[in-house]
Symmetry: C3
Subunit: 355 residues, 3 copies
């Protein structure tokens, strides 16, 4: 894995001592701690201001101790304390977002997974290049409105948290479109959305072999989005737009799903291609990742995004999912991460899963 | 708890004898019995006419015995028999509705929870006063149609079971509105719905402390409603209305969900405020309750209703939910109720959880 | 059961030897094998071309061995090998579809369930006659467009996989309808869809008694369909049709649901009627079947289709569902099938469950 020289010593320090799973108290932290506890690992909650009260309600997920920081951006200042506890940071979407990707990259504490993925995932153009060159099917990009020949979605650059999108059934829906900033136009693919919770282990040589390791599918969900999901109850998209209400796509939660079994070969193929290409590009994405796509009426799977770490949809399954139940009993993504750390330690291959 | 003097002797009679969990065979009764059996409590099904046949299909949920009554309204006449068995009645929505709130209030049998909540929950104005004074954010009320300045929903008083609602994108949608009876107008909040399955224990001093006890979150669901949920497939709300089809909101079932973890502080805060205010107003709501609200695109949580007892959405989780799995293994709401009864008995504090 | 004379010897051959659960690697095969393994039965995956790679990712579901066939239509040629292993074929939707119903009927290998059901299920008119004569409530049929007096759906004969349907809010929506082939017109029932996972055991005399055996409800789901399920996000049905986009109903996956408990008497009654009538018509449907219907705002249940074997929605529940948890712990449909085979063998009644 593309380990920076500075990390080597930190990883080496974990070889012969008990490890502590540490993460920021948000996003999927309850599940990460719950899973680590199932594997009897120590846990440390990084809390902004003070430990969150809601943790008190979940005795099986509460971390063993807390590190309180004034701001998420300042976690790096506590590297010494974190390392003294033998911490392995488990990143999640909010951790990276609140801390800042640059600061996260520079963190002088061992991190589960390959940090190099951040540079490829946070830049939409690089992410697309990665997926495209992996041979993954994606919604088309339109250069200009004149190129549109079907349903489309316009996304402004830097649109945050699911707002500022414009949907169009066809080009003529956009004839009066006045952009308020730089944007991209994408094909709007009709179908149903599936969020695939993969885990890539560079250590395991059983199972579905990809590169030096193997690929696991541990769950699946669909995101709940406000206001788009229940908007139709009030009226048609067209009339609502006329009345001044815009669709937004802010994730508020998750619902469990399974995909038809005959799709699994395609879904695993997509996961494998993404991993294989990641190995070529930056030494490989390891641990949890999520492939987010749409199954069309032709039963194609079109990938619209990936997340290169644990996603919140895995929170549905602290005790196992319809898929992980076929892998091992009571296997959450959080627990799987803990297992991988323990295995890497016992096989003296921490550098393969930590960066 | 606001125990009526008449109940004192009935509760005392339970101090040193085996308790029987009794409820009306409907709504969430399978789960209530299943949970009580997990805790090795005796169970009694109160059946109208004769024991329901479908119980035979669920051997782990069938009650140990049945009490057959001619009508739900006449349960009170069987108080002696119920008390002879050491019954604790677990109320659910259908129990109270079929029996009648007044008759339920007057029932000379110990009831799990505080019956005083009924007076506050069954009257929409009192419920709103309770929630408003608790500082809980709710959809606005409009006094007249002229006050409307956004999407709205008109609800007729006494509209039963999700019918007789009128939706409007804005004031002009209601310009031809001819009321067919007394009504209220409410802001229609756009977003996704979450139904939070809370449990308030006045006995527990661990966990998320509220008042003298603690608050637990044991699950979450979304209600399935006919015909609104699948109406859009046939056409737009506007065209369907023109064709004479009205949206209705009749609950037909439930789907499991989780909310994003970053919402949990807000959701617990709402639950805590509702409990704290209930203690001031009427001695406290105890045991299961459900907060029903909408998460907006701004990630606000707007409460549109509460249910002051076990809700049918908990039927999704007889063996534990994504939340209760972080509290204790295999913990359903029905089982949690049984645990609270047993704890109250062993600590000689039955009056804190029974009325 | 309507056992063909030719099958008798094959079934007899299984009386005193270990049984192997065999099925085609698709649809619900992971779950079927997983369940069989829980009951310690041997498992055989029938694979077209070569064993599917995705099986490697599910160690608890992988079959013990594979039989590789060049095409699904040629499974019959491997009867000798299948019988040498003591195979009991567990049919699923893809198995019958890929192999061909006629070839499946003629297969000289023991099959779980009564093959005679195929003739009644694959012919829409016979299926309707079965359900109608069972007294099951169904959407109405309209003879001509002029008969339509409400929402309707036009289905072309032989429309494959959820395409080629036309929805109409009323007769006038169809005034310009130009059929492109033979079709049927059905009432379009508004409400929410539930897919009931029943199991009929001719051996069990406990539980919900129907005919000589008993009826179990082991789960419930809702199907995910592309593109209809998320179509509304782009615009109203009417505007989308104008823009040339047609609704399609291709099943892509499944979501877990529960129905309100007060519906259970109706749902069991429907299941029981279908079984009772099947006994009269063709010796009885045994094992798993799925009743697919709509709950209306009047809380009626309208059946629009049945599947006479295991459905893919059961894949949601390899470790038990909200319903099966009330029957027995960790009971999937696949496991239930394995249990029935073992019981039939131990009671020397294989002919009651195998054909």
């Amino acid at each position: 894995m593309g380990t920076r020289p500075s990390s080597r010593a930190l990883i080496d320090a974990l070889r012969h001592r008990p490890v502590t799973v540490a993460t920021l108290c948000s996003h999927s932290s309850l599940q990460i701690f719950h899973g680590a506890r199932m594997e009897r690992l120590s846990t440390l909650g990084i809390a902004v201001g003070k430990p969150p009260r809601y943790y008190e309600a979940f005795p099986l997920a509460r971390p063993d101790s807390y590190l309180t920081v004034p701001k998420a951006t300042e976690v790096g200042k506590y590297a010494k304390q974190l390392n003294a506890l033998g911490s392995v940071i488990v990143p999640h979407g909010s951790f990276v977002e609140y801390m800042g990707a640059d600061r996260f990259q520079a963190l002088q504490v061992p991190v589960f997974g390959n940090r190099a993925v951040l540079g490829w995932e946070s830049d939409r153009r690089k992410e697309r290049a990665w997926l495209d060159s992996a041979g993954v099917s994606m919604p088309r990009r339109y250069e200009t409105i004149d190129d549109i020949d079907g349903p489309a979605i316009v996304k402004y650059y830097g649109a945050k948290g699911g707002k500022g999108f414009v949907l169009a059934k066809n080009r003529s829906d956009l004839k009066d479109f006045k952009p308020s900033g730089p944007y991209v136009i994408q094909e709007y693919v009709l179908g149903t959305r599936y969020y695939l919770h993969f885990f890539y282990s560079p250590l395991s040589r059983d199972g579905y072999r990809v590169g030096p390791g193997s690929l696991e599918l541990l769950g699946m969900d669909r995101r709940d989005e406000a206001n788009i999901d229940e908007l139709y109850k009030l009226g048609s998209q067209e009339e609502l737009t006329r009345a001044g209400m815009r669709p937004t796509f802010v994730v508020t939660g998750n619902v469990p799903v399974v995909a038809r079994e005959s799709l699994l070969p395609k879904l695993f193929d997509v996961g494998a291609r993404i991993i294989e290409r990641s190995i070529e590009l930056f030494g490989g994405m390891t641990g949890p990742f999520c492939v987010e796509g749409i199954v069309t009426e032709e039963l194609e799977f079109k990938v619209f995004e990936i997340s290169a770490r644990i996603v919140a949809g895995t929170n549905l399954f602290p005790n196992g999912s319809s898929y992980s139940d076929l892998v091992a009993p009571q296997l959450s993504m959080g627990r799987r991460i803990a297992q991988e750390i323990l295995r890497a330690q016992s096989e003296d291959r921490l550098d393969a899963v930590i960066s």
